[in-house]
Amino acid sequence: MKRNLFALLSLLVLASMVLAACGSPAATEEAPAATEAPAATEEAETEEAAAACEPAGTEPIAFPDGGKSVTGAYDQEPDAVVPYFTQMSYAVWVTQMTLVGLGEWTDEGTFIPELAVEIPSADNGGVSEDGLTITWKLKDCLFWSDGTPLTAEDVAFTWEFVMDPGNAVSTRSGYDKIASVEAVDATTVVITFSELYPAWPTLFTQGPNNAGAILPKHILEGVTAAESDPFIRMPTVGSGPFVITEWIPGDYMELLPNPNFYKGRAILDRLQIRFVADSAAALAALQTGDVDFYPNFSEGDIATLESLAPAVVLTVDPGSNFEHYFFNQGRVAGVDGRGAADNEGFCPFKDVRVRKAITLGINRQAIVDALLSGKTTVPVSQWPNSGWTNTSLTVDGYDPDAAAALLDEAGYTLGADGIRAGECDGEQVKLSFNFETTTAPIRIDIATAAQADLAKIGVEFTPIHTPAGTFFGQYVDGGPLTTGNYDMGGYTTGFYPDPYTNSYKCEEIPTAENPSGNNWYHLCDPALSDLIESSLATVDPAERKAILDEAQAYIAENYYVIMMYARANVMGSTPRFNFGPSGGDSHMFWQAETWDVTE
């Protein structure tokens, strides 16, 4: 019997040893040898152009002994790196370094050319008089990382590929407004729209909120059902400063310099991205120097990061995303037969005085100072930190007295329980309502602060924190936002690089007929809806700015939303790593070729 027991135990030990031996490198995803012989181009002009210039190499530059290497931590693993197939920021943060577009946005939000020579405009003849035709000129001597020439043909192919019904791209928004994309010669591509599309700069270009890289025709031609193609998940041929050479799921991704990058090879010899579980793991790894950067701390981590200086360097860039609170306006104005919401909002919110009082009753600046270390700002409108902001507007400061006066005026008087009550639509209503948002710790802290502020003016604001999956649940699943089953809500969104939003459009109120509508305020104010729509009627940036200025003023006057704070990119890095200028929308990844280390 003793023998049996020991045999069993030894078997256990042996088994674990054997398994340990098998367990060494996890099934390594082998980079498909994507280097095909450069396709012989049919066009004579292409041949001439190609003959005049040569690629610097045909594969990524191998890591030399003692080379410069940087490791970043991502707490979410990209789903697919080819941008048309992903909606993940973390994926775009790899795309920005591997597959570039015709243009991009700088850290200051300026639109600059990348593969193109210049940004098309009416002045340089790139934008036709009717605004329907855009002509892009590509730089000469562009090559993919495998040495194949990158030409206007690739741009035309990219459009065909995205529009191919056989490929399940995540969105065709904008691309479906194009009638044709024609490669006139190797470096000239003419895009003709079927209708006016003022957001044309967001097509075939790169930025964190739009990812439109040019795709390699010589690799993807003939591919259908591309959503499952290995190249879409892990493009091993690229046009950015780096090329992905290895990706072990759950573990890490390795990127090596692209020899043919249009600005010359990157300074770093290697970039590794380690997939960690959360920002806490990333923070510990930053402290020991196991990783050099983590791009996505929360604003709530700012104070901790500040306390770790100089071992950890903190960078905070306010961007165009914003956290906002809003009132369910369901059935307030469902006029003209437009935008009838299923659920009615909280009756007192129909009165602008109540909305204004709640706005004035929350000390937003104190929240920014205390909970966000004063590193960001309370924005005036939903277009913060961008050229679209209406600079003539000012933020309403905290004014509990004015708020109380407004509520008195609206007929809501303090009750014995300290909560105001009054009449709304003939019924007695207490100013007591729910506020719904997600379970993010910073949201819990801020909602608690708002609750305390509002209690002082006799308003009972009860935060309800629901997991994001339920909070943002679909209409058919009864998600509170989509069905309008909430009083007040709060979350983050942003409208950029193109400023258009359909979230005020009457027709976008989610209903059984249109369950995926984007108007979660359930607000149908035809004047506002039409105003924002009219910004789509012109490609002239100045004209659009005037329209949006008016829309911002209108939203502000009507207190439809409470702007809480501009969301910021909070990055932590080691002192050895210099990532150059970073900006809210372009993040730290728009110039990865300039990244360097100082030992």
Partner: protein, 319 residues
């Protein structure tokens, strides 16, 4: 015995079928895989509908279930909604890492538990027994996320700050073919896991040895003039270890599921993290795949444990 195994196998198949239905319903109602795109201004309503159609989420629930089951029976666990990789491939990539971590921890746990449990039982109420009991209760009461993070903060972060040789946090990119690196990266997660588990197991060993030591046959063995050591190892331990076999046997399938917290803290690319990451995204195929593997292992290993029992304990006959 073969009849027994056959009967149990049929029962197991039925159990598994029920488990798949429950798992399917639980995962299906636990969240919305499209919620991550909900607040995304880049995706139009039509895009979201197209995605839903492509993922098969528009089918009635029972159709979705039978489609999934039909493929699963053929060994195809489907494709991850999110990663677009075959689920079996994803599990194949993580499983070896989890097996290394979990089995190393289990072997260390069982060894230490036996050692501590025996000392505790033999020297009942001595200083060592009290010390081990205290240790067990501490280990048992501290949540693993705390002990894991604590270990990391002390032995990685603080040791580095103090200029001492320090262990890796696990978050660096390290060479898995280098055995020294491997062991260095394994120390902290294994310690965290073993610390918690040893505590419980050693209490268990202590109790069962104490129980056995009071039995008549042990008195007989002592009366025969056997040494204390012989009584303990030859007679007492043999019987006392029986319940441990059951526990270890039932533990093994769960080891395959990995350790969500430990793997997350130490960035270990294993099954626990796979499950957790994809459960958060409501990626049903992955979650179901992992659950199916674990439940199959539980069901199979329960039968195997029962069969092994007949070898370890001659008093038990299967019928």
């Amino acid at each position: 015995m073969w009849t027994y195994i056959l009967r149990r196998s049929f029962q197991a198949l039925f159990t598994l079928l029920i488990i798949t239905v429950l798992c399917f319903l639980l995962t299906r109602f636990s969240g919305d895989p499209l919620a991550q795109y909900a607040a995304n201004p880049r995706m139009s309503a039509a895009d979201k509908e197209a995605l839903k159609e492509r993922l098969g989420l528009n089918d009635p629930l029972y159709v979705q279930y039978f489609k999934w089951l039909g493929l699963a029976i053929q060994g195809d666990l489907g494709q991850s909604f999110f990663a677009r990789q075959p689920v079996s491939e994803m599990i194949g990539q993580r499983l070896p890492n989890t097996i290394v971590l979990m089995f190393t921890a289990e072997v260390i746990t069982v060894s230490f538990a036996l050692m501590l449990g025996i000392i505790s039982a033999v020297k009942q109420y001595s200083f060592w027994d009290n010390a081990i009991t205290t240790f067990s209760f501490i280990g048992f009461s501290i949540p693993i996320f705390f002990s894991a993070l604590g270990l990391m903060l002390i032995f990685a972060v603080q040791f580095k700050e103090w200029g001492l040789p320090y262990l890796p946090t696990g978050a660096a990119v390290w060479d898995k073919s280098d055995p020294v690196e491997y062991i260095k990266n394994l120390i902290l997660p294994v310690t965290a896991l073993a610390f918690v588990n040893t505590a419980g197991y050693s209490r268990f060993v202590r109790t069962s040895i104490l129980e056995v030591l009071g039995l008549d046959y042990i008195r007989t063995a002592r009366a025969k003039g056997l040494t204390g050591r012989a009584v303990l190892f030859k007679h007492a331990l043999r019987n006392a270890a029986l319940p441990l076999v059951t526990i270890v046997g039932l533990d093994i399938p769960f080891l395959l599921g990995g350790a969500i917290v430990t793997e997350s803290v130490f960035s270990w690319p294993g099954m626990g993290r796979l499950f957790w990451e994809y459960a958060q995204r409501s990626d049903y195929p992955v979650v179901l795949g992992v659950l199916l593997i674990i439940s199959t292992a539980v069901v199979v290993l329960t039968i195997v444990t029962d069969v092994i029992y007949t070898f370890v304990d001659p008093r038990i006959r299967l019928s």
